[in-house]
């Protein structure tokens, strides 16, 4: 009996963790795709959409796995389109509005530099499915990281205006970066089982990575500050409701509608 109970707990935790990964990618992917047709130049417009769609692709593998873990006959679409704000477990960072190009770049850079560290650990997971998804995603993430770091350097070490604007974005968004390293209950449990890395141990490496890029970009690291949290447990900023409303409208209005 006890064994079954533990197994069920692990299964639920794993499912919630996979949803957390998937939701962050979905929301961030949706955000980036909002740039479609509005990019500063055609080439970057396409680059942004490519990244957004990469994230969406990763999301699909994760939702499919989460649906399988739930075992309730749900599909990836049910998970994306028929859950409410409080059921979404994405990082607060992901749902922040695009702002200007510099803000979008910083948001992406902070996330991808973390994601690169996380996936490098996850690909060694004892859970074969997680390991496989991580390994496949990492190739894309490496490019996203390179692309966003390049732009942080270009804008930081660019003109006076680009520098002051991206520095302002960094200072504004920084408060949403700490959540990545504060483990949720699920993350704690799974880390204890050795299935996933303890995210709090990734913070130093992340900080070093970010710092070296900021230095090259002649940008200043923000002082330690209070870190917003809540996304992983479904407590979001006011922005998530709007993005879900836009994303889910069609499925809510015309249930089961397909292309």
């Amino acid at each position: 009996m006890t064994n079954i109970a533990i197994h069920t707990d692990t299964q639920t935790a794993l499912c919630n963790y996979v949803l957390q990964l998937a939701d962050t990618n979905l929301i961030l992917g949706q955000r980036i795709c909002e740039w479609c047709g509005h990019g500063p130049v055609l080439e970057q417009d396409i680059a942004l959409s490519n990244i957004g769609l990469d994230l969406l692709g990763q999301t699909r593998s994760l939702y499919q796995y989460a649906a399988e873990l739930q075992g309730a006959g749900k599909t990836e679409d049910d998970l994306a389109f028929l859950r409410n704000e409080r059921q979404f477990k994405n990082l607060l960072l992901a749902e922040q509005p695009n702002g200007d190009f510099g803000y979008t770049i910083v948001r992406q850079f902070l996330y991808e530099s973390f994601q690169q560290l996380l996936l490098n650990e996850l690909k060694k997971s004892s859970n074969k499915q997680l390991a496989a998804i991580a390994e496949k995603s990492l190739i894309e993430t490496n490019y996203h990281y390179k692309w966003s770091a390049e732009w942080v350097i270009r804008l930081g070490d660019g003109t006076e205006e680009s520098k002051s604007r991206i520095q302002k974005s960094i200072n504004e968004i920084w408060t949403y970066s700490g959540e990545m390293f504060i483990p949720s209950a699920e993350e704690q449990l799974l880390a204890k089982l050795g299935m996933i890395p303890d995210v709090s141990t990734l913070e130093n490496a992340w900080m070093q990575k970010v710092k070296s890029v900021f230095e090259e970009a002649t940008l200043t690291m923000p002082e330690a500050m209070y870190m917003q949290r809540g996304g992983k447990t479904g407590v979001h900023t006011e922005h998530l409701g709007y993005i879900l409303a836009e994303m889910q409208y069609l499925q809510r209005q015309y249930p089961g509608q397909t292309w």
């Binding site: 500063p40 130049v41 080439e43 396409i46 680059a47 490519n50 270009r154 660019g158």
Partner: protein, 95 residues
């Protein structure tokens, strides 16, 4: 940084190992590295390539269309310049 200030680059893509780089089009970028990254996003998103060359368009020198006559016409009646008069041994196969 207005778009009009970004120089134009010509992009060449090798579609498979062993094939030549082929001109695929042009794009705007501030420098060579950005040109290659932009080319990756603009021209290889449907598995078109395994290698990219970028050349700033101003470095491409072209023949003058007005001189097309004296440049190219003289070659038209000189079929003997084609190596089609040799018998290729069977063993060589398709050349």
């Amino acid at each position: 940084m207005e778009n009009k200030d970004w120089p134009l680059w010509e992009i060449f893509i090798r579609s498979r190992q062993g094939l030549d780089h082929k001109h695929v089009g042009s794009l705007h970028a501030t420098d060579a590295q950005m040109a290659i990254e932009n080319a990756r996003d603009v021209y290889t998103r449907r598995m078109e390539g395994v290698s990219i060359w970028a050349v700033e368009s101003k470095f491409v020198h072209a023949s003058n269309p007005d001189e097309a006559g004296e440049f190219f016409e003289p070659a038209e009646d000189k079929v003997y310049r084609h190596p089609t008069f040799y018998d290729i041994p069977e063993a060589i196969g398709h050349m």
